[in-house]
Structures are given as structure tokens and as C-alpha cells.
Chain length 192, copies 4
């Protein structure tokens, strides 16, 4: 089975996730500029989640580019990742409502962690399917980013119960690390 | 007419169905972790429906892979299946609101049953269109899973009026049976 | 410019329209089967609109199959059709709330009429773009269905202010006429 | 990396944006035609935003047609454009609620301005990626429309605080300028 329909379906789900988040931006009651002020943290949270989902789309794009075919297990590992991505709008909305509250900020980290673990699982299943000598396996052998991210999320979750703004710094840091698409894969495949 | 646009449209509809279900996960009123507790059954119901819709996408993917072309009747049988799939978010939301109540649990089973029958109809029309000697016809000759599932749904619907948790066990059992993509088709086509 | 991306974008918009309509099916307040009763007209309206949008998708599929390339004007005629299709969920929701009230039933007909006119416009621009000797032009020369439908819609709109159920009969009749994909195009192209 | 998946993902996001805007058209409370009156400005705003998003889709289509491959930077410039496009439904809803109020009309202009700047950034990154001698670079050398639009938006934003209807005229004027797909690109590529 080739990767075409898997990519198309993933694109569809990710496109919807990234777009329906904005529906949480409820319009202010009045017509004054001042009414926009309480929306600023919601908007910032939306922007952060947009970047996160964008990173996943970007890296999904890159990883699938190095993949030849998919198995039934890969299809489910991919759906599993999409499931956790689909919970991002929920936790973004909760954090937006209570910007610096402990529980929402911690749960945001938990959801990011679940996404990171689902990504690792998908990657592992793809490498097992493609074989240890495949381009994909060589390209992500090191996998430094994949290993650092969960640790940073856990640190963020713990920090959320002490000083929530610090947790947000952890989450922004992981986003910054991943912002650049995976040069290792690009280099291995000689892509531009 | 080839299957390309039918698959693309089905992917789009299924991607939207699977994603908008999460919009039913309304954020809790306060900012405490305790506020998440009443959401747990809603979340569990969402996860079950996500798996169900995922199974349909997965098997749709497999079945269409064995199909050469589609007729007008197949297009409508496919839209008919998409119609019943589109009612899954509604009944998931109702069951999530009343996790172990008789009527919502029974209706959940009715909707799953309608989906199963719509699937059987689509399969029948595809086999008639492709011909009895086609790869598809040979691959799903036995059709054990397709015949057991409706019976289990009916059992679940009846059970819902006696002891709702038992009904949920039936629904989870059918999901488990279908979880693995259809090996018969894969074997027949020599796909990986 | 080829028709690929136009079809993909139209598929996306139509898939969303057909799916978000179900979001209007608000879950009943209690957990009893009796609570579903007031939803029946909403459900029937949803089913009718689903069939209508399905017909447009189906015929769009067929028409574009006979088209070689598109112009800027065709792109906008297509967006114009998508605009009117996107208003179907709104009017379906209004009619669902007031099933046999004059104004909602009449507006439903007006929206269907606008869609039919947008379809005619798209067809006209495609024929002008493809040329009078094109396969498309020959295939839909007669265009009986396209001419009868607006008349039936107008009859339905007028009927809505006298006896709303009669208007609904007109709308169902047009759906029945269009239910079968356009055999003329299929025959001309020798498609199955 | 080729442009296929970037176009498909952009199509998905734009299709969702253009369609969920209609969800803001809340059905009137009663069943009378008079109840539709307060919806007219909301409907007009929806139509204007539909045209704006349609213009972006149309021009995105044209620009990507002249592009051979994309870089990581282009992927992000594209996501950045999609982010600002995704805020259009929010500001359309706010302006629809307060049709001629200063702040909503001004913010509508600000969002259009951000979209125009995001478009310029994407265009700049594409030309840098494709090279100064590319078809794309030659085609949009002049870029008159791209330079006039931001100035007109700024004029509209200023006007919003003096006389909001004048601001709307500015926004409609820009839409009119862009309504016709970019003939320069079409001419350069010899497309129809």
C-alpha cells in the first residue's frame, strides 16, 4: 500500500484541527477595542498551538517523503497520532480561558507529551516496516530532538504546578527546537 | 469513472467527522483538575467513536484498493455510508452526556448497525459492479466479520435496555474484531 | 490550467458543507427516547439537504470529467456555486427549527433556486470555454433537467406561502429527478 | 520537495475557512421573513470575506502553478499566510455583529493587511527560492497590485475611525482590484 491516501487523510485531519481551533476565539461582547484585551492570551495560545500543529504537519510531510509503503500497523500508529493532535484544540481552549492556571497549563503539556510519544511510536513502526537499512532509518538514527522533547514536556508539566509561566517557556522552547524541519532527513535524501 | 475522486471525497468527509467529534469535548467550567472528571466518559466515548470511524476509513481504503472503477450506484451507496457515518458525532455526544443511560446507549448501537448495513450494501454493489470473478469478490467471499457484526450490534441494542454496560461491551467487541485491517483482501492482492 | 485542483478544492468545500450540517442536530436534553421525537423533522431536513448536496457533488464530478481545462471565469463561477451551496446548512437549520412554517420553507426553495442558477451559470461558462463542438456541449445540449428545476423551485416557493407541505413535495421531486447521475454525459463519453 | 502536498494542505485549510464562516450565520429566533433583516449585514460581510478568501485561493493556485519546488522556509511562509487567513472568520463575525462600528471595521482592515503582508512574504520567499531568472520572478516583477493593496488597507483602517462606511469602500475596492486572477502570471506562462 502506498503512502498517498495516508498523507491525504492526515492532511485533511490536520487542516481541520489547525482551522477549528480559531472557532474558540469567541468574538467580544461589545464593539470596542478594549473588548479585545481579554482575548490576547487566547490568541497567543492559539498561535502557539497553530505552530505546534504546523510543526507536526511539516515533519509528517518530511518523514512520509522518505517512506516507500505503509502497513496496517503504520495506518493505526498514524491514526493514533491524529487522535492526540485532535485533542490540542480542547486543551488550547481550556488554557486560553485560564491562561496561567496550574491544571490547564499542565494538561497542555500532557497533551503535547502524548503527541510526542505518538510521534515516536509512528517513527518506530515506520522504521521497523522500512527496515534498519532504509533511508528513513539512517536519517533519523540519532533522533536527538525526539528524545529531548518528552523530557522537556515532563519538566514543563512539573513546573506548571510550581510556576505556570515557566511551563509555558518549556513548551515554547520545544516548539523552537522543532521549528526548523528535520535537516537530517533532508540531507540524507539530498532534498532541497 | 475511476475511484480517485470518490476516495478523495470520502477521505474529506471522514476526516471532518473524526475531527469535529472532539468539538463535543466542552472545556470544564473551572480551572481545577477535578473539573476534568465528568469529562472522562465523554472522552472514552470520543475515543471509541474515533476508533470506529478509523476502522471504516481503514477498511474503505482497503476495499477501494481492490476496485477498478465505480458506477453511479456505487457513488450513492458510498454517500449513503457517509451519511450514517456523519451521524456518529451526534450519538457520541448524546451518549457522552448520559454515559450509561438506556436510550443513548441503544441509539449508539442503532447508528453502528446502520453503518454496518450501509457498508454491506456498498460492498454488495461494488462486487456486482466488479463482477463475481473479480479480485474483490474472491477476497471477501467468506465475509464472516460483515455477518457477525450486525448480530452483535442487535445484541448490544437489546442489552442496552437491560444492562447498558453490557451493550458497551458488545460495541467494544465489534471494534476489536474489526481493528485489524482485512487480511483476506491483503492476502488476495499480495499487498504488504 | 487543468481541473485537478479545482475538483480537489470543490470536494473539500462540499465535504465540509455536507458534514457540518449534522452539527445542527443538537442532542436532546434528557436521556429518554421520547426526547428524540422533536428531532425527527430536523433529521428529515438534514437527510434531504444531504441528498441535495450529494447530487451536486455527483453531477460536479460528472461534468468536470468531460472538461479539459478551466479559465479564470470558470474558477469564479465554481466559487459562486460553492457560495450558494455553503448557505444550505443555514437554511436547513432554520427549516428544521420550524418544519412547516412558511418563511423557512420558502427560503429553502430560494436557496435551492440560487444553487440551480449558479449551476447553470457554471455550465454555460464551461461550454463557452470548451467550445460548442466539445464533448461537454454535445452531452448537455438538451439540458431538460436544468431548465425544469428552476421552474419547480419557483412553484415550490410560491406554494410555501399557501401550503408549506406542498412546497416540500416540489423540492423532493426535483431531488428525485436529479438523483440519477447525468446519463447523457455518461453515454456521450462512453463511461460506465 | 514538490508543491503537491503544500497545495493540497492549503486547499484543505482554505476550504475549511471559507466554509466555517457560514456557521456564524445564526438562524433567526422566529419563523418570519422579518427575522432575516438583522442578518443582512452579517450575510453581506460573509459574502465579502468569501470573495476575499476566494481571491487568495485563486491567486495561490496561480502562483503555485509557476513554482517548481518548495523549501522549508516556503512551507512556513505558507503556514503563516494560512494563520492570518484563519483569523478572517473571527473578524467577519465581529464586524457582522456590529456592522458599522469603528473597532470591528478597523480590525477587519488590520487582518486583511496582515494577510496581504503574509502574501508578500510568501511571494518574496518563493522568488528567492526559485531564483531571479525564474518564470515566477519575471511574471510578478512589477507587483503593482501587491504594493497598492497594503496602502489601501491602511487608508481603510484610518477611515474606520472617522467614517466606517468609507473603510468598507476601501476594502471592497481592493477586492475588486484582485478579483481578476493575475493576468501577468497567466500571460507569462502562456496559460489560458
Amino acid at each position: 500500500m502506498n503512502t498517498g491516501r495516508l498523507e491525504a487523510f492526515s492532511d485533511g485531519v490536520i487542516a481541520i484541527i489547525i482551522t477549528i481551533m480559531v472557532l474558540e476565539l469567541k468574538i467580544p461582547q461589545g464593539a470596542s477595542l478594549a473588548g479585545l484585551k481579554p482575548l490576547l492570551p487566547v490568541f497567543a495560545g492559539y498561535a502557539l498551538s497553530f505552530i505546534y500543529v504546523g510543526i507536526y504537519w511539516n515533519n509528517h510531510h518530511h518523514m512520509m517523503h522518505a517512506v516507500k509503503s505503509v502497513s496496517g500497523g503504520v495506518l493505526w500508529a498514524n491514526l493514533h497520532l491524529l487522535f492526540w493532535l485532535s485533542t490540542v484544540p480542547f486543551v488550547t481552549a481550556w488554557m486560553g480561558e485560564h491562561p496561567l492556571a496550574e491544571a490547564p497549563v499542565a494538561l497542555y503539556g500532557v497533551i503535547l507529551l502524548m503527541n510526542a510519544l505518538a510521534w515516536l511510536l509512528l517513527q518506530t513502526m515506520l522504521i521497523r516496516h522500512e527496515g534498519g537499512e532504509s533511508e528513513l532509518a539512517k536519517a533519523i538514527k540519532a533522533g536527538l530532538k525526539e528524545r529531548i522533547s518528552p523530557a522537556l514536556y515532563v519538566a514543563g508539566i512539573v513546573a506548571a504546578f510550581v510556576f505556570p509561566p515557566a511551563a509555558l517557556l518549556f513548551y515554547v522552547a520545544v516548539a523552537a527546537i522543532w521549528f526548523i524541519p528535520d535537516r537530517r532527513v533532508e540531507r540524507q535524501l539530498g532534498m532541497r
